[in-house]
């Protein structure tokens, strides 16, 4: 009797484990073969934000042209000014090719980075760089779409700073992620990647 119950227990447990395993395999294969041909869930997606001159700009407006997009905030002491400066230098070195792509800086700190603030800030960099801000929800949505990590970190006297992703995403004319510039990417390598991006090649 006891033995029988023990066997029933073993069989039930094995069955449950098999069911869990089967479900896991089904889920995994489903995620590997998504039903729709979505761009393998890479960074990118729709957005509608406000530029430094107060105009609306959406992903639809960017269709047809590749773009380099970077997320940060103006209260950033090093990574953001350095990246914007390096992007400005790269655009300068690209010559006329630089007009074949858009370079975008999205604020992750819309509470402090108004369009006016972005306008003043970006005057120190290449005038072709587009600054984007918006309301908290729109910024949260675009950052999630681009798989950007960011977190508010409180500092002294009620102030805060942001931890954030420090890479530049390179997107093709269809708004698909095709490559990235690392923080402080070697200037020549960054130039080569941007040139391949405008040439329609994989950076």
């Amino acid at each position: 009797m006891k033995l029988t119950w023990r066997w029933i227990g073993v069989i039930a447990t094995t069955g449950a484990l098999a069911a869990v395993l089967a479900t896991a395999i089904a889920l995994l294969s489903a995620s590997r073969h998504p039903p729709q041909a979505e761009t393998a869930a890479g960074p990118g997606g729709p957005f509608q934000l406000i530029t430094q001159s107060g105009a609306e700009l959406s992903n639809e407006d960017l269709k047809g042209a590749p773009f380099a997009i970077f997320f940060g905030f103006t209260h950033c002491p090093e990574v953001c000014p350095t990246t914007l400066w390096e992007l400005s230098e790269t655009l300068k070195r690209m010559g006329p090719d630089a007009d074949k792509l858009k370079t975008i800086f999205v604020s992750l700190d819309p509470a402090r980075d108004t369009p006016e603030m972005l306008k003043t800030y970006l005057q120190s960099f290449d005038p072709r760089i587009i600054g984007l801000t918006g309301n908290e929800d729109d910024i949260t949505a675009v950052a999630k779409a681009y798989k950007v990590f960011w977190r508010k970190v409180p500092t002294e006297s009620g102030d805060y700073t942001l931890d954030h992703t420090a890479i530049v995403y390179l997107m093709n004319g269809s708004g698909e992620y095709v490559g990235a510039l690392a923080y402080h990417e070697d200037a020549d390598k960054a130039l080569a990647k941007m040139q391949r991006l405008v040439a329609g090649k994989t950076p």
Partner: protein, 194 residues
Amino acid sequence: MSSFLPRRAWSASAPLYLFRSLEEKLGLVALAIGMIFASAQTVLAHDTTVESLTVSQPWSRATPGGAKVASGYLVIRNTGDQPDRLIAATSGISGRTEIHEMAVKDGVMTMRPLADGLTVPAKGEIVLKPGSYHLMFVDLKSGLQEGEPFQAQLTFEKAGSVALTFDVRAIGASDAGDPAGHGTSTGHVKSTRH
């Protein structure tokens, strides 16, 4: 026998154990104090010395338009036998000056204020540089312009306070540069982390 020898002229770098008598030790201390006062008067390139600490190459970068923050970099060398600690910094250019650590890891920049300051190890150094420890000037009163230096004061737990002049380099500068102005410096001092 040795105590009857005439007092020799000491070299400033002679270690303390070479001097046996109390008078010699006291004399050395007096000389050391004298040197501290003397060095406080001397502006030797970009080095500033206070007690056993030497602070060199304080620099910062020009800030973009409307920017409210700037970072400050420098090297602190400690020739003493005791560690010291950078506990505070102030400057007329900012509402607040904090001591921070930042890093870029796996594509993410993180930055934290160091509540306990920054330890300068005995017989060692600490380097405040881009991508690492830095001073953070918060709530800037006006933007920093390339070539327009500014003053700041550091406070150490043991050595006390020291006033510094920060060079302001271009927005994209990545190091302190060559003080003599001959091209770009490539020499980086290795950071000692504790």
